[in-house]
Amino acid sequence: MKLLVLLSWPYVRKHKLRMLLTLAGIMLGVAVYVGMHTANLTIQSAFQRTVDRIAGKAQLQVSAGETGFPEDVLERVQSLREVSAAAPVIEAALATPQGTLLVLGVDMTGDSSLREYDLEGGGEDVIDDPLIFLAQPDSMIVSRQFAERSGLGRGSKLTLKTMGGQKTFIVRGVMKATGLATVFGGNLAIMDIYAAQAVFGRGRLFDRIDVGLSEGVSVRKGTAKLQSLLGPGFQVEPPQSRGAHFESMARGLTISINMASLFALLIGVFIIYNSFSIAITQRRGEIGVLRALGASRGQVRRLFLLESIVLGVAGSLLGVAAGLALARGVVPGLAATLQDVFGHAVSASEITISPPLAAFSVFIGVLASLVGGYIPAHAAARVDPVKALQKGRNQVLSEGENRLRRRAAVACIATSAALIGFGNGNAYFYPGYLLGITSLILLSPSMAMWLASVMRPVLKAVWPVEGALAADSLIQAPRRTSATVTALMLSLALAVGFAGVSRGIYASLIDWMSHTLNPDLYVSPSRSITAKTFRFPASMAGELRSMEGVEEVQPVRNARVMIGGEPVMAVSLDIGAISRRVRVKPVEGDRDEMVRLASQGKGVIISDNLSLLRNLHRGGILEIPTPRGVLKLPVLGSSVDYSDQQGSFLIDSKLFQRYWGDDTANLFRIHVKKGQSREAVREAILKRWAGSHEIFVYTNEGIREYILRLTDQWFGLTYIQLAVALVVAILGIVNTLTVSISDRRRELGVLQAVGGLRNQIRRTIWLEAVSIGVVGLVMGAAAGVVMIFFNLHMLHRDLGGLRVDFVFPYAFVALMTPVVVLCSFAAALWPAESAVRASLVESLEYE
């Protein structure tokens, strides 16, 4: 510790900028980790908090996926001795000028035993005599916060968009801002369940039943009793399970966050490695003196490891603070994306700070710093005191060292290929992935040197002095530049990998949409086609069919059902009718036979990703829980279908209606008669339902744009992480250049002494920076190919089982080229100025 104060502190003070850059490397790596995980955690816990508070005293909840179930189930639940209270619930999210409003439809006659409606003065009569509430279907109770935001009081009128068009409600009570009323950022409203059925187009269905158990009945016993009473078609679970289902839906997001965070940290490791390697190169005279004065190798090693720990702690603490700020910025976008993609509304006004996450982040930040600092510390301990003052000697990466790296890389590539090619399962794939990335890291110094050698003649031909010196600087000091080039390569590989996957997904989506989404118009009850708040009554299909210009109407009902404890999207439609318009692309099975049998209700057509995720194939049996028991249907085949990340299956609407008792629709696909104006039909539909139904009519192009926008939104979250990774890598360039200039101070001084003008000196440094950028870019693009390959495999096996074609993102790389070149150039501006303004005499005497 004394050595740390005596030797390290003065070095830090002398090289403030470099230390700040190193600190920034750790800080940004940790910030991405903390930020994205905190944002994810905030959303998950906000969802769970909402679920818990809404559940009140309920110990169990009965549901049937997202489909809902008939009212008679309530009586069966209530008949159980083990059940003390059972209250049906309808839950819906409505868009209001004050943000999304969560509306709970409850049965006031039995609900107060499960939930406390803490009303402000004078409203007790509403709860004490639920009949008052029931007798007035326009009654609504709102939370204090929502009332304040909307300027409402008891007796005020509140107009909301419902299935029956704009509807005015009367505020009969205002809940105090405690308990239940604080859920969803305080945007909560309560209404009668039967009114809610009408308002939200639920027919005679409930979304779920909240259950309180009799005294002395354990949750396990209650679950068993209810499950045996209702059968496997229902889910009987504690409220907490809903959070787990939500988490499982967003698993893809969690995996991408983990991957990007890991890369950000890995890039940080290289920045630290680079900084410490540089520091040791520069301080080898000091180390030599220390060793000559009797310091042991262990003491020198400990000194540098201690430095990396101190930097790691400081950088990680700053990273945690920056991460929390990042989370605050990301949460609204993340919540909106999850709501749009999965149809689940989440409101999180405050971020959730997790002390274990913060502690773990500091731990991994310090660990990353230690890993980055270990090799340089080890090198410092091996410094020979005699050679310590020989400038420049240990900058050269020996051919032996390079050969060793190349051999290790070849071994990694061979093992990786064997693991991925012959192994089956994640236990083989992920180690193979890791080894693949390791081989790239091992190869990067040789590749960087080779590329710099290739660039040298070109640079020299254009700028004989500046170009040659810039390339030589890279070739002569591989230790100085290789870590930066590797960091840049990794961040660009990450970016190219994501871009490749996103291009691949776009290409596959566009292909899928082109043969699946061929109707002229789509009619949806919500702006978001994934939202399940509203549903159209079955009768509306007939009315649409009778409209002038409409040739065919295809109702679609989709809802997630729980299969094997995980949600799967059931898509109910008239398969016979649809197949006349859509050519299903079978992955497995015979198209005509699949369609014929499915339209007769003799099986289901599953999506390719469901087949992969559940290892379900043609001839297998899909066991689907329904309110009328488990429906066992043969898998007739699989087709490409991107309806849901966790898989989907097509079921004929007649069968669905029979088993779920649900004839409502989420969407109408409309084909317009030939020669008729699509726009005219669209206008006519909007006019026909204006004022009576909330309705959105999308054109074919509109729906495609909507889906692509949703995909953009999903990838948008990833781009934040990519940007941070790139910033970290650019910091590495600044770091390398400041050191390069310090190392080459004498060289630059000589250049000026023999007649180099300031601009010529500047150009040398600019060219060096741009060369680092170009080398990193070329290597990043090459490594990106490997990343795309791995990402597609990962997407295939863990992120929705999606089969996406390999597409190299040429346009993205073309876009990144000027970005990287400009960023590299910008990184060189300050170092170049500091070089030309340095004292010439001092530079020439610099040792």
Binding site: D472, G749, V754, V841, L844
Partner: protein, 230 residues
């Protein structure tokens, strides 16, 4: 050719250090001058000021009729490029460039055509006896050979002035003698004005004039009657 009027240099810091007290000096064209003195006497400071590598605290320096103090940084660089060649004690060759590239460096910086650069650099390397070492890197040469390359580089634009800071200080006596002979030979053949800082009286005696500095003051300015053959 070179004129100094009341030129002084003080290094400012926590404590100001006077490196050179006000000094007047004139060095005519074609003269070979040695500057001698103990360490810290101000001889390198004087050389750096004349070479435009450093700025005086006071006084006027003129080189070939141009006052250095009135020039911008780039104009000063142009004066160095066109009028002055530098030879350093530690050679200061660029390690990544070959001998030919090192000698070509000032010519490239002046924007000469490639063929002309190649011809001139080849001629100069031949002149210093290194025609067989053209593609070698500095690391592959002996100390004497490196200094020869440095001299060839300094002479690449045939500058009228050659400033040499301890050119033999880092060489053994045989190599040192060889370099001195070379400088003297070039001075005689090209008529170059030479200013050479040295500790070595034998080297100094090979010059036509010796300036002796002590604690930043010009102690003596003596002409050597018959410069020693090197």
């Amino acid at each position: 050719m070179i004129g100094l009027a009341q030129v002084s240099k003080t290094f400012t810091g926590k404590r100001d250090v006077v490196a050179l007290h006000p000094l007047d000096l004139t060095i005519p064209k074609g003269e070979m001058v040695a500057i001698i003195g103990a360490s810290g006497s101000g001889k390198s400071t004087l050389l750096n000021l004349i070479g435009g590598l450093d700025h005086p605290t006071a006084g006027v320096i003129s080189v070939d009729g141009r006052e250095l103090g009135s020039l911008s940084d780039d104009d000063l660089t142009r004066v160095r490029r066109d009028k002055i060649g530098f030879v350093f004690q530690f050679f200061n060759l660029l390690p990544s460039l070959s001998c030919l590239e090192n000698v070509s460096l000032p010519l490239h910086l002046r924007g000469w055509p490639r063929q002309k650069i190649h011809d001139r650099a080849t001629d100069l390397l031949r002149l210093v006896g290194l025609e067989k070492r053209m593609d070698h890197l500095p690391d592959e040469l002996s100390g004497g050979e490196r200094q020869r390359v440095a001299i060839a580089r300094a002479l690449s634009v045939y500058p009228p002035i050659l400033l040499a800071d301890e050119p033999t200080g880092n060489l053994d006596s045989a190599a040192g003698a060889g370099i001195l002979t070379l400088i003297k030979d070039l001075h005689e053949r090209l008529g170059t004005t030479v200013l050479m800082v040295t500790h070595d009286m034998n080297v100094a005696r090979a010059c036509e004039r010796i300036l002796q500095l002590k604690d930043g003051v010009l102690l003596s300015d003596a002409r050597v009657e018959s410069p020693a053959a090197s």
